[in-house]
Symmetry: C2
Subunit: 445 residues, 2 copies
């Protein structure tokens, strides 16, 4: 019988995986539970959604990553609930007891109460999301090629990205690259270059986690890629064939068949479950409250890290949902657990070290903010490329991705632009009898 | 108005694509119809099914391949029927008229009238099949890792491949590589090396398209990879938890959760459709009869090539379902059409030039037969590798695959071993209450 304390980590994302790895020298037994058998390098998910990389390029089997870590076991299972009183996890097909629990189950997208939009506007959090978005993008061009009616064709070639955060901007930028370069000469009846790409953002700026001046420069750069940037704009309705949006009292209906959701995120529902089990309340986005040691309030043997927890910085603002935050928290929690097991006392409260943030905004263009320093453009993109290659190579030992990128960049190639997911071709239905929404602007009182 | 004759090719596999490409200099207008947007390099599909390659490594968008061919248009559509009297194809969502039709819709698997087995024993013809098989293989190991009951664990680690043709042998060989090397140190509760891998073949030999001596050597080699080869064995029943098979009057029940189907193929159902439209009958496997010019019997403007047609060699035996056959036929039909359009007269009857056949049988082992020359082992594998690299690079300009293979070979890595296809983990249900079929041999009268 193993008498080492049993640390159960739920979620093999950046936070959970870091915690597991950093416990490798501790005198504990670690079980990492995930419902997927891989760790996903989410920052590059948009590349899968746009056909630049294959799913396997950004996903690595957890067992392969943790193979050599003798004190760690990987469990493919779905956690459904928590029995805090008995230190027990309820699984879909069993149960699991722990001495210490680390919840790192991440986030999912939020439609702000409009869940009926999900069908028409997929978000981008999982590999399944990415291949679904890829399918929709390339099917839209295929359907446009076959569409005789000019209005319907225009709708098929209109891509609306809801949300001007990093995900939205990355998706829109890559869509522009696809239309302008990748598919440029692939069709006979349409000009992919005519595609209309729109970013809809409620706030005054896109990328509003960055300084205003940098956001402004990024928006200018984005517009150079022939992307329409609509800030101060709210989405009121998303259906199979249009998006209704309003800006400054004016309502506009844009006929479109492809809407991508990059607007809201909320914590994994397990956050709410654990909160309820602990007698706590989550915030509106489902985040579970943690103390300065990342302990779920009132529970010394339960931690929550990454996108599932609310953690405030020194100014009282919540930390952003970044891989860097999750990894630092995962590492911190591992050190805290190790210290407690070793009896070397409580560690310092958690403190996030912001080493900078970055996002790509299109072909050979990115924004980077490191402290007060800001970059926008090609140099920022090189920096972005360098950092992400470093991270992914470090994580996944994936030298191939470098070749793939070099190849793609040189040839404008997106070799992974497969329409998969359904064995039969999915015909984008023409709503022949429904009156084709001409784009029109109406006064709203 | 374009007055060039309109050649419609149904299917973008080896035959159809070759026909389209070889018509590039003819005074015709070509439309290639496929229900997928990619050409699939089927000979490597088993590598996707076993996690060695990603779908995008072996699938190339048809538009990318045919981009520069001005007289060719690609149509993503599903053909549902033929209106031969009016030279018209019926599509799922429209129609298409032709002057000349080339049917190259390929084959699908056949369960010999036992379609209820399909659910438990997926075949390997499409990318969807490959990712489904990949999911089942890796989920079986995951479930075994969690299974406390030794009998159930044994069933989870038993893999039955039905059919000892190239597909079955390739799948079994790669399964063995996965168990012996790739996953060797990934688990804590099971030894993947204990996996039981069986090939079930009704004929006296595996790979029975090869000379008997070579088949024999291949079988010996296969057994060295710890694969059980059961020839002269018939499958009588496949269910969710066992396979019932009989050999020489003895019936055996093997408890297993993973059965892969590599046994039978039949022509795409479109073969039957076209035959009916032409007042013809297909053979039992649904192949449409063609004359020596590959014309559908009695129809000078309709051709059928590849796996959908019955074409006999000089000895009156049907040609095998190989990429080489389909490509030679596609090219021949293109030349015939070109000659007729140019008015340079009828070409010679079609004749297949057999340049040799080859199949891998495991890590660094293959069989190759070129005329009377036969190779089995490492040298044959090098030859196999060389030929396939040449073919795939020529087809798809995919230098990357070379790196991927070199990497995989050197590291025993199967980086694409993702369990995808369902966003939630699929729990392999334990049939707790059903009596666990112990493996037993019973006399059958």
């Amino acid at each position: 019988m193993n008498t080492q304390p049993h640390v159960v980590i739920v979620g093999g994302g950046f936070g959970g995986l870091q915690a597991a790895k950093q416990l490798r020298k501790s005198n504990v037994r670690v079980t990492l539970v995930d419902r997927h058998n891989y760790h996903l390098f989410q920052p590059l998910l948009y590349q899968v959604a746009t056909g630049g990389l294959s799913p396997a390029n950004i996903a690595t089997p957890l067992r392969a990553i943790l193979r050599k870590q003798a004190n760690c076991q990987v469990l493919l299972a779905e956690v459904t609930d928590f029995d805090v009183a008995n230190n027990r996890l309820v699984l879909a097909d069993g149960e699991l007891t722990y001495d210490t629990l680390v919840l790192a189950a991440g986030a999912t997208h939020s439609y702000f109460g409009n869940d009926q939009w999900a069908e028409f506007a997929p978000g981008l959090k999982t590999l399944g999301d990415a291949t679904e978005i890829r399918r929709r993008i390339y099917l839209a061009f295929e359907a446009a090629e076959r569409e005789p009616d000019p209005e319907a064709r225009k709708a098929l070639m209109t891509f609306v990205v809801v949300g001007g955060g990093p995900t939205g901007v990355e998706l829109a930028g890559t869509l522009s690259e696809i239309a302008e370069h990748t598919l440029a000469r692939d069709f006979r009846n349409i000009r992919p270059q005519d595609a209309r790409i729109m970013i809809i953002e409620g706030a005054p700026h896109v990328l509003n986690h960055y300084d205003e001046a940098l956001s402004q420069r990024a928006a200018d750069k984005i517009r150079q890629f022939h992307i329409e940037v609509h800030t101060h704009t709210r989405v009121n309705e998303i259906t199979a064939d249009h998006v209704r949006m309003s800006s400054e009292g004016c309502e506009t209906i844009v006929p479109t068949r492809t809407v991508l959701w990059g607007a809201g995120v909320q914590a994994n529902p397990l956050g709410k479950r654990l909160a309820a089990a602990c007698g706590l309340e989550t915030d509106r986005a489902g985040h579970i409250p943690v103390d300065e040691f990342l302990n779920v309030v009132g529970h010394k043997n339960i931690f929550a890290v990454g996108d599932i927890a609310t953690c405030l910085d020194e100014e009282g603002k919540p930390l952003p949902g970044l891989a860097a935050v999750a990894m630092q928290q995962g590492g911190y929690v591992a050190d805290t657990i190790a210290a407690r097991v070793a009896g070397t006392g409580q560690s310092e409260p958690f403190k996030y070290h912001n080493k900078g943030t970055m996002a790509t905004i299109g072909r050979a263009a990115a924004v980077v903010q490191i402290g007060k320093r800001q970059f926008c453009g090609f140099f920022a993109w090189l920096l972005w490329l360098f950092v992400h290659l470093l991270l992914i190579v470090q994580f996944q030992n994936r030298v191939l991705i470098l070749f793939q990128w070099a190849w793609n960049y040189a040839t404008f190639n997106r070799s992974a632009r497969l329409i998969t997911g359904d064995d039969h071709v999915v015909i984008v239905r023409r709503t022949k009898n429904s009156d084709p929404h001409a784009e029109k602007t109406v006064e709203v009182s």
